[in-house]
Structures are given as C-alpha cells and as structure tokens.
C-alpha cells in the first residue's frame, strides 16, 4: 500500500505554515509533515534523528520533519519509522514546485493525492503581476486557496480570481482568511475514507457541496474508465472509490484533473462524486459507468 502525499505550495508569506497548522488541528489523523526547514510550527517535542530526515513528534501524533537527505530516502525513512496515514510536504516559496510534484508522482512508495496552492491576495493586490514562479505554483494546483481576503475588497478578489483562473481553470477555489474559510478539511484527503472504513459514504457536510454515490459489479475497462474520468463535468471536483480492472483491484482518486491509483482489495466498483450542484448529473453518470464495464 502506498502512502498518499499532499503538496502545499505558495509564495513566501502566503500562509503555507498557517494552513499546515489548520490541517493538523482539524484532521485528527497521523500525518507526517515534511518542511523545507523546521519553521514556525514551534513545538517542544522529541527530536528523532534519522539518516535522511530529522523528525519531531507533535502533540496529537503527527510528525514534523526537515529534509536533510535526498527526498526519496527521506520519504521512505519516514514511512518505515512512523507509518503515517498521510505525508504533507510544504514546499519552499521561492522555487517552482513542478519538479517535486513529478518526483512524487514517480516514487514507488507514495501516491500523490493533490497539490494545494495558497495565493496571497494582499500581495497580489499590491503587486498585480503574477511572476513566473507564482505562475508555476498556481498552474500545478488542484486546490487554490485565495488567502488574506480580509485585506482586500470584493472587486480586488474578483480580479485576482480572474487572473488565477486564466492560469489554472481546473482547480477548486476557496476564499480564506488566515487560511480559514469554513473548509471541510476532509476534502483534501481523498485516500482516507476508503482505507479506514470499509464503507465509502458521502461525508462532505458543507452545504454547498453535493455528492453522488454509485456502485457497479464486474470488470471495468481501464482506458474507458480514464476517459470517463477525464470527461467529468467541471462541477465535479473530486471523485474517489474502488475499481476492478482485469489487471487488478485499485483505489482511485481524482481531483481537479489529476487521477491517481493505488492497489487495494475491494470486491466492487464504487464511486463517490463530490461537487457543487451535481445531483443533476446522477443519471448521466449511471449510464456512463455502465458503458465502461468490460463487455465479455
């Protein structure tokens, strides 16, 4: 079983560490956090020194790490030593995250769940041109948090949202203040439910979101399935569940155009779709799923 990874990206001072704190506080799971350096999450805790990584244990069972060795060694060491349910990587604000993302997508021990980019609205209002590095950070995001909205007016937020949409038209956008925007943090963890509870059930509680749950038996055709996923309506920003192909059984996770799999033993194809006003797609989805069954 692979360990899912979330990447947090964003400009210097955008609120990456604040967001990390919120994740830790709101999601009572065993996380391992890799930071560029031990940052502002100051905690008195025990330091576990490894070969490729320095770790400190946080209250609540998370582990916070600073990289001292090569990333892949570090990740494997963390998995071996602390067996986290999720790994969260906070990237440096001054570098493009695309290399790191690619590395994670190609590491055998982990699966990339999603990339969250924090956008500093106050900064973008003051410096209206989105620079190259910020552009790459925004381009690669599955979730975009427009943060510090309390420091700008509605008109400015709209302009920023438009600019950001021009760079990335697939990510789900949230508006936040101190990285807090009435978020359901489970949203960021696509691989939780299926692994930890055998029942996949809609659990997004936020009012504006709707979910659709579907099941089907038999083998699915992998290429048809991937085509189906890539053609999902924009309103659906998350899909997850289990699929059975001829070559094996998998758990899948889709967010804003990014699809990933891991091997997982479950005897049914099941799908959970989450999005805004999506109930109207239910019949269409049912029909489409029937079509991706392997005909034999």
């Amino acid at each position: 079983m692979k360990t899912p990874v979330i990447v947090i990206s964003g400009f210097l001072g955008a609120g990456k560490t604040t967001f990390l704190k919120r994740l830790i506080d709101n999601v009572k799971r065993k996380l391992a956090i890799i930071m560029n350096e031990f940052g502002e999450v100051a905690i008195d805790a025990e330091v576990i020194k490894g070969k490729a990584v320095n770790m400190i244990e946080l209250t609540g069972g998370c582990v916070c790490c600073s990289l001292t060795g090569e990333l892949e060694y570090a990740i494997n060491e963390i998995i071996e030593k602390v067996k986290p349910e999720y790994i969260v990587i906070e990237t440096t604000g001054i570098a493009e995250p695309d290399s790191l993302i690619y590395n994670i997508e190609n590491m055998p021990s982990v699966v990339l769940d999603n990339v969250i980019t924090i956008v500093d609205c106050d900064g973008l209002a003051k410096f209206p041109e989105i620079g190259y590095t910020q552009r790459v950070q925004i381009e690669n995001a599955d979730f975009l948090l427009l943060n510090k909205i309390d420091l700008v007016n509605e008109q400015q937020i709209k302009e920023i949202e438009m600019k950001v949409r021009e760079i990335n038209d697939r990510a789900l956008i949230f508006r936040t203040k101190y990285c807090n925007g009435n978020l359901d943090y489970n949203l960021f963890f696509g691989y939780f439910i299926e692994r930890n509870e055998q029942k996949l059930k809609p659990e997004e509680k936020q009012e504006e979101f709707e979910s659709i749950y579907l099941e089907v038996e038999g083998y699915l055709d992998r290429s048809k399935f991937e085509e189906f996923i890539s053609n999902l309506p924009k309103e659906i920003y998350r899909a997850k569940g289990n699929v059975i192909f001829k070559d094996g059984k998998y758990i899948f996770n889709y967010v804003a155009g990014r699809l990933s799999y891991d091997e997982f033993n479950y005897n049914k194809n099941r799908f959970l779709f989450v999005g805004k006003n999506i109930k109207k797609f239910e019949n269409n989805l049912k029909n489409s799923i029937k079509k991706i069954l392997q005909n034999e």
Partner: protein
C-alpha cells in the same frame, strides 16, 4: 502592440525592445540571439526583461543572453547593471543558488590513458563527491569554522590542506570575495549549509570527464597558452552554494518585501523582483550575506577539486601534481558584483547582476590573473550532458557592450516536467553508454529532466555570443563520463 512585434533587429545577433514600448521602462531591453533562438524564447522572458528595465538605477540595457529563459523575477540569462550610488540590489537578479558556477581542470592524460579506467574513475568520484538534494559532505565543520569558510571561501580550503596555492589565482576573485560578513546570515542558513561543503547537489549540477577531440580546437594558439592539447582529458563541474545560498536569498527576500515600498518608496509590478537600494542598510546587509554565498560556493568547488585529485591519484597511482590536475579557471553564474565600467564615456562604479550569465572580461582588465591578462578571461560554458561544453574567452567588445558579460550554458527550451514526461531516465543512461558516455546518478528522473533535447542547442548559443563578439571560442569538449546530482 505585442511584445514580439516590438522587437527591433539591430543586427543578426542583437535585438532590442525600445524604451518606448512601456511607459515605466527606464532603459531598452537588449537580447543577444540568433533568429532561431529568438523564436524559441518564451514570451515571459521578454516580459521579465521589461520588468527588470523598470528598476531604479539600471544602466544602458536590461540584457537577455541567448540562453535566456524564465526564472524567479528576472530571466535566467539576464543581466542588469545598476548605478552603485542610486540603484537597487535584487535577490531575484542573482538567483538562489548564489555563485552556482563552473570549474575547469586540466590533466596531462590523454583519451588513451583514461578510456580504460573511465568506469573506475566515475564510480569513485560518485562515491567521494556526494550528489542529491540533501547530500552531505565529508567535511565536518563547527559553526565557527563554517563562518570562516563563508568569509574566506576557497582560501580557507587551501589553507586547511584542500588544494594548492596556485589554485586560488585561477578562480574569480581569487576564490574569496572581499566583504563577506557572516554576522549577516541567519542561523537557519548556517544549519542548511554546514554539512554541504564538498557536495554536488541535485538538478542541473554535474561533474564530467571530457575529451578534447583534435577537430574541436577552434583557437589553437589560445588553447596552447591555456594548456590544452589534442586528445587531452579535462574535468569540468557545475555546482553552487546549495541550501545555504537558498536560505540567504529567502531571508533577504522577506526583508526586502517589507521595506521596499514602505521605507524606500520603490514600486514594482511583480513581487519576485523584490529589491532594496544598494546603499541602504538592508541592501548592504544582503550584499555582505550574498558574498558569503559566493564564498561558500568557491569553497565547495575547491573541496570537490581536492576529492577529484584524490580519486585520480588513486586510480593512476601517481601524485595529482604529476597528473597535471591544474585549474584553468572557476567562474560564477549567479552573482551581483561591484565593478568599474565605462558608461557613456564615464568611468563609474556599477553593481552588475548576472543571473545565469558569466563574467567575460576582455584582455588587460584589472582583476584578471596574470596568466590571462593578454588572452582575456576564460569563460566555461556547460552544455547539457549529451551535447558537449565550451571554453571561451572574454572580449573587449563585451566590456563595451554588456558590462563584460556573456551566456552561461545552453538554457532550457521546455519545463522539467515536460522533459521528464517525454523520456525515461534509465533509457537515456543506456543510450548515453552506447555513445560512449558512462554515467552515474542518484536520480533517474533527474537524468530525464536534464536531457539534451530539453535545452537549446549549445552550438547555436555559443555561435550567437561569438558572432555578436562578446566572447571568443577556444575549444569544445565532449563528455566521456558523468556524475549527475
């Protein structure tokens, strides 16, 4: 008018975006490129160069070298010279891998001597010169020793037994830039750099064993004076100040963002161009801290040379002196340096930002070692792993036109992610071995990332600077062994 339509041709290798293109431009943008390279540049490079041209104190032009591509704020391959009295200093114009640079080392061995031992050499270097993201070196330093290193650079290394006295003469700034002040760097920066002296790092950093094919010597006379002969083996490597330089840049970017507008009234469009007046307290602090990055990098390349000499002397069972392992030169890519230049007929002090660009001083310029006074400064141009590399010389024309600056390497044409999607690292390694290049790496995906086709053609880039007259070709090297970070 679009940017592309506004580009004016000066001659076949020189192009300009006039000052009138945008109201806030203080100087025009000048691009050195062939038509083909110009067509290959992404438009963001031009936008970035235009943004740079708005910075206070910029002199003559905002330059783009033929290997230019988009970077943090400034283009990589960008040059901006600021009036030292009323100009700014900007970390984005220097780059985060401060003094990432190249060193070229001679041997008196030939391809016949080395070919049979190439695997042994590369394997041993791979072992002795650690590569990879967080790699740590064999040098165990205390904090106070590390502070000495960043203030004294390669000089510290030679004094402590890692090199020869003569090495220092053949390094930019003699391996130790004056004015580095370790009290201006954060403890985080020290933490990140303290065990990285003598390490290659990751990304586009590498060490190569290269071959001087007889047909690749362009300027026979200059080559001879430098000590280069037919079928000779040379060693070239590319690395920088690692996590240390990165942290110095991060620390000061945050400081600059806070004071730039509030305290100094400097308005910019793109935050990545954060800057401070060169003469301000913040500007001078950063300058002194950045110099620590420059010295850390000189020291890093010096310790690596020491390891290379150990490896060669072990494999050939002879002293490094007898093997002729002499430094040709060591050049910096990512720096800002205070230099004297003639601007509009007037000699003045200028802060030259070179980001992904190399100093290329012509003959008889103060600061060059006596061995190169007559020839001009050696410029070492790293190509990609597959394409080969160059040794050039600086020219008088570079002094007149580009503040003594030229290109640094071949520059990307596609993003790293795209390159890796197109090719698999393992296959590339095999393909290179078939072509006679033996390669060791910590990361296969990194190899794909640095694949030759992801870069502009090195020959084309070097032709552009040579034809524009800001450098002169001496010789081209072909790799036979490579250690990649």
């Amino acid at each position: 008018m679009s940017i592309l339509a506004s580009i004016k041709k000066i001659n076949d290798y020189t192009w300009e975006i006039p000052k009138e293109f945008r109201k806030d431009m203080r100087v025009p943008v000048r691009i050195y490129a062939t038509q083909k390279l110009l067509n290959e540049m992404d438009e963001m490079v031009y936008t970035q160069a235009i943004n740079v041209s708005t910075l206070p104190g910029i002199l003559k032009y905002s330059y783009v070298m033929p290997d230019g591509h988009s970077g943090y704020g400034f283009p990589i391959g960008g040059v901006a010279a600021m009036d030292a009295d009323n100009g700014v200093i900007s970390p984005g114009g220097i780059g985060f891998d401060i003094n990432c640079g190249m060193r070229l080392v001679l041997t008196n061995l030939t391809i016949k001597d080395v070919k049979p031992k190439i695997r042994e050499l590369v394997d041993l270097i791979f072992q002795r010169v650690p590569a990879g993201v967080g790699s740590t070196g064999f040098l165990k330093l205390t904090t106070s020793q590390f502070k000495e290193v960043v203030e004294q650079g390669a000089k510290w290394c030679v004094e402590n037994g890692y090199g020869w006295d003569e090495d220092l003469e053949h390094i930019e700034e003699n391996g130790c830039i004056q004015g580095a002040d370790s009290s201006k760097i954060s403890s985080r920066a020290i933490q990140r750099g303290i065990d990285q002296v003598g390490t290659l790092g990751s990304g586009n950093h590498y060490l190569e064993i290269q071959w001087v094919k007889p047909e690749n010597i362009v300027d026979k006379e200059a080559a001879k004076k430098i000590g280069i002969f037919e079928d000779q083996i040379v060693i070239m490597y590319h690395c920088g100040s690692r996590g240390f330089g990165h942290q110095v840049a991060t620390d000061y970017l945050q400081i600059f963002l806070n004071v730039m507008e509030r305290k100094y009234g400097i308005k910019i469009l793109d935050r990545e161009l954060a800057c401070a007046p060169f003469n301000s307290k913040e500007g001078q602090d950063y300058f002194a801290a950045m110099k620590c990055g420059i010295n850390m990098s000189f020291a890093n390349r010096q310790v690596i040379l020491h390891r290379i000499r150990e490896v060669f002397s072990k494999v050939f069972n002879t002293d490094a002196e007898k093997l002729g392992l002499k430094v040709v030169y060591d050049v910096a890519h990512n720096t800002a340096k205070l230099e004297e230049h003639v601007v509009d007929g007037k000699r003045m002090k200028v802060l030259v930002h070179r980001k992904g660009a190399t100093r290329a001083f012509g003959p008889n310029v103060q600061g060059l070692p006596k061995d190169y006074m007559e020839l001009g400064q050696p410029v070492i141009i790293g190509g990609s792993m597959e394409t080969g590399s160059y040794l050039l010389l600086g020219t008088q024309k570079a002094m007149e036109e580009t503040f003594g600056t030229t290109c640094h390497g071949s520059g990307r044409t596609m993003s790293r992610t795209k390159a890796r999607k197109l090719v698999r690292g393992e296959e590339l390694v095999k393909e290179m071995e078939r072509r006679g290049i033996y390669l060791r790496t910590v990361s296969y995906s990194g190899v794909a990332e640095e694949a030759g086709f992801a870069y502009k053609n090195i020959d084309e880039v070097v032709d552009a600077v040579a034809l524009a007259g800001i450098s002169k070709k001496v010789v081209r090297f072909i790799p036979i062994g490579n250690v990649k970070g």
